[in-house]
Symmetry: C3
Subunit: 120 residues, 3 copies
């Protein structure tokens, strides 16, 4: 029998949440608040809060993260991203992670994060 | 019993198709036509056509996409990539997706796409 | 019953190894030796040796790789990365792979590799 794929919060390009069996794929997530005063740390905090909501909508949470990809627009701001990340990540359940400096969708986007998680 | 891994279209570096159980991993795919007149939109159209073929060779199709990573060489051309993407993606079955601006393997490569899908 | 997630070699940010069922997620891996004389080829060799160790700690090996993401700091050094990669990869069991040029965590890091594998 074909395992169904459940998609939530789809727009014209992508689904923010894709569930396949117990695997959950969350789309690359960026902050809505991206003004000059929204630092990389602040944007990361907003992104991680959004990811909490997306994981919850899939019936899981950050303690079930498997892997994370982080992209930041300026590697000199990696410490800011890491500060927000370390304050957020479940201390007993950290995912595999990688981080690179890349261009992002808009010039005021300082961080984008994409995660894969498992359902309980 | 060990679940076998099926690999297709391998060259000296990679396999274009890797099947593990019902999961299908497709390698980063670029266009063959990369001349000065091959726009980001045209290259994306060629890449997506190639991905259709690779998914078919794995016994699946774009309606079973789980996630996609898109890399483009010039973020100002993201609208071109998105136009080709939106014309292609199954309107009822959109994957999680992320997109960044990075350097690509050759200077005339404007887009690279890597996807994970499920078999029916 | 919830499938347990096994995490190994966790630091304050991430786990280098995450096992979920028979899937193994390895964190983005960089070389420790990153001096001026440590070429992209040498750094890639060190990274791949580290990945061998991480896969072994998860009870698997490079013949069970599903996918790989490679990031290098200078695309002109891709041939060096590929030379080390081709000497290492199991000739009968090559993963899906993608490679981009991005900024990396430190300015002396020339290559980062993140892989997904299956356990036997």
């Amino acid at each position: 029998m074909t395992t169904p794929i459940k998609r939530q919060q789809s727009d014209e390009r992508l689904s923010k949440i894709v569930e396949y069996g117990n695997l959950v794929f969350i789309a690359g997530t960026v902050a809505d608040n991206r003004g000059p005063s929204d630092s990389c740390k602040a944007q990361t905090e907003e992104v991680l809060k959004k990811i909490d909501g997306l994981l919850a909508a899939a019936g899981t949470n950050k303690s079930r993260l498997l892997s994370a990809n982080v992209w930041i627009s300026d590697i000199r701001e990696k410490d800011q991203m890491d500060a927000a990340w370390k304050a957020w990540v479940d201390p007993n359940n950290k995912p595999a992670r990688a981080c690179q400096e890349t261009g992002l969708a808009t010039r005021d986007t300082r961080v984008e994060i994409m995660v894969v998680a498992a359902k309980p």
